[in-house]
């Protein structure tokens, strides 16, 4: 294991085989959903992995119903707004944690760690009752608040890990040149931190995009129901003719952003997920 010199063809073949196993592991469920989404209604029950007849009908169906389009808009809007707010607040807090000395710093780190471990279901009952009283139930804001809250620890950890790697000297140099700490933050550190902020934004977006528990508990109509929640209502509605095709097509649609992120930003996502873990 320890020797990485050259590599004979035999060893390369061994690794290539292992790689293929991993690729199959990761892709089979995804390809299966893709394949189901292209199957015609009659061929859905033929139990073949790949469709024998191909059709776009399932996609046409979901994009002609308000239910799916509305859910997609909700998903995109809620995830983007939550991501923006969480990343802005997280950047501010992470900068302070990584760079500044102030009372209550450890407490903040502790609180965000607690929230990272917090069972979301414990918040469902109080939030359900509070949001009904405040008129936030079944609104975008009603989902955005919990999303920001649970995204913040992720954002703070990832960002403070990135911020620690930015050289101190630059900030000091800026201060020597007469910049206030706030200016040093805006002019010097923020541009250097941009890649880290971008990575964090992707991770936070994936988190918000993924949520299901809050999405089904804190919504009751299509006004704010996101796609993962709407999917489960596709099934519940009709017991006997399970809308396999529609669900699969909708599932494929909401997987596209994930595939795009993974393909284009693999390095960044890996760096983001691993950076927080090494410290400690």
């Amino acid at each position: 294991m320890a020797i990485i010199t050259g590599g004979t063809t035999g060893r390369k073949a061994k690794w290539a085989f292992i790689d293929i196993v991993i690729v199959l592991y990761a892709l089979i469920p995804v390809v299966w959903t893709l394949s189901l989404s292209f199957k015609t209604t009659e061929s859905q029950t033929d139990k073949n992995f790949f469709p024998s007849e191909w059709t776009f009908q399932n996609y046409r169906d979901i994009f002609t119903t308000d239910e799916f389009i509305r859910a997609l808009i909700n998903s995109i809007g809620i995830a983007i707004i939550s991501t923006l707010i969480a990343v802005v607040l997280g950047t501010m807090a992470a900068y302070a944690i990584a760079r500044l000395d102030f009372p209550g710093k450890q407490a903040l780190v502790g609180v965000s760690l607690l929230i990272a471990m917090f069972p979301q279901v414990s918040l469902v009952s109080p939030l359900f009752e509070m949001e009904r009283n405040l008129g936030l139930f079944d609104t975008w804001a009603g989902l955005i608040f919990p999303y920001i809250t649970f995204a913040l620890p992720l954002a703070i950890y990832t960002l403070s890990a990135f911020f620690r790697e930015i050289p101190w000297e630059l900030e000091k140099a800026a201060k020597m040149d007469g910049a206030t700490p706030a200016q040093a933050f805006r002019r010097v550190i923020a541009p250097l931190a941009a890649p880290g902020v971008f990575t964090t934004a992707i991770l936070v977006f994936i988190f918000c995009w993924n949520d299901f528990l809050f999405a089904i508990s804190l919504t009751s109509t299509s006004a704010s129901r996101t796609v993962p929640a709407a999917l489960s209502f596709f099934t519940g509605a009709s017991q006997f003719e399970v809308p396999t095709g529609s669900i699969s097509a909708a599932a494929v649609v909401i997987t596209i952003p994930i595939i795009v992120f993974v393909l284009f930003f693999q390095r960044r996502i890996v760096a983001g997920l691993t950076s927080g873990a090494v410290k400690g």
Partner: protein, 315 residues
């Protein structure tokens, strides 16, 4: 400068003793900025979790069923007695614990293998890392539906391939499928956390061990694992707490039928389906306590340290 006293009262004590006034002003400005920058994040986190958890404890002490709002009254701990003497709750608790332990153990083994491959592979390192991120990134509900249709008698390629009748209508096969779905989705995340630990293993140490005649397995158990221990514990802690909250996969795969319900499913069913805020909140509080106990045990027994806690990691 008198207004700084309000925002940072402790700033007063330090400068009077040791430091020069010029420095203390810079320090005070730093503290003020630090507090200002953290305030919004801290406020949101506390407002959305701190107060609701207190409110949840308050709700759990009441008889409060939204179908019969008139009968709302303070009942002390009787909701806790009701839940803790309920067979369904303990079944769900057992099922949740079982799923957590089995899936985390499998994930640790597979995750370690995957981490080694991602760290060491000679060919296609980018490819392996890219595809591994797909299970991590994919929406859990989407993956759950994929497994559901794969095992569903009418549509499933797996049921027909393996000659099964309807695995999702029986308890044990359902649990195995739920664990499969969990493991598939979260192994790559585990692997990435472990890979971060692998990167810390010094190459020289492995070379030296190899010179001394250590086999691959010996190098793994005697060198790699001890160096990686903190990373392994952090990964285990995070995944255990995460697995204990399992909800999405069970909701889609079985809806909790045939005794496959988790504690989160139970709380959801009482709350949103049953509209019983009292009982639902009681379960919420109990789940919160269970998670807190798990975290406490991890930190006390295994000395898992909090990531990001740079000031003297382990205690």
């Amino acid at each position: 400068m008198s207004q700084t006293v309000d925002t940072a009262p402790t700033a007063e004590a330090t400068p009077s003793g040791k430091k020069k006034p010029a420095l203390s002003e810079g320090k005070r400005a730093e503290r003020r900025l630090g507090l200002m920058l953290c305030a919004p994040a801290a406020f949101v986190m506390v407002a959305v979790t701190g107060w609701p958890i207190v409110y949840s404890v308050w709700l759990s002490l009441q008889r409060y069923d939204l179908r019969f709002p008139d009968q709302r009254e303070f009942v002390g701990l009787s909701n806790y007695v009701a839940v803790l003497t309920d067979g369904y709750w303990w079944t769900a608790f057992g099922i949740t614990s079982l799923i957590t332990v089995v899936s985390v153990v499998i994930e640790l083994v597979l995750g370690m293998l995957l981490a080694l491959v991602m760290h060491r592979t000679l060919v296609g390192r980018g490819l392996v890392r890219t595809v591994s991120l797909i299970p991590y990134g994919i929406v859990t509900v989407v993956a759950a539906f994929s497994w559901y249709y794969a095992w569903f008698p009418d549509t499933g390629y797996l049921t027909s391939m393996l000659g099964l009748e309807a695995p999702l209508t029986q308890q044990i096969p359902s649990l195995l499928i739920i664990i499969l779905a969990e493991v598939w989705k979260t192994t790559p995340f585990m692997a990435l956390l472990l890979m971060a630990g692998l990167a810390l293993v010094p190459e020289d140490l492995l070379k030296a061990a190899s010179m001394d005649g250590a086999t691959g397995w010996q190098r793994f158990t005697k060198v790699i694992v001890p160096v990686m221990k903190p990373a392994i514990l952090v990964a285990l802690l995070f995944r255990t707490l995460d697995a204990f909250r399992i909800f999405d996969n069970i909701f889609v795969l079985t809806k909790g039928a045939n005794d496959t319900s988790s504690v989160s499913m139970q709380a959801y069913n009482n709350l949103i389906r049953g509209l019983n805020l009292g009982i639902g909140s009681t379960m919420s509080v109990l789940i919160f306590l269970a998670v807190a106990i798990i975290a406490f045990l991890f930190i006390k027994l295994f000395g898992a340290s909090a990531p990001g806690n740079d000031a003297g990691g382990r205690r």
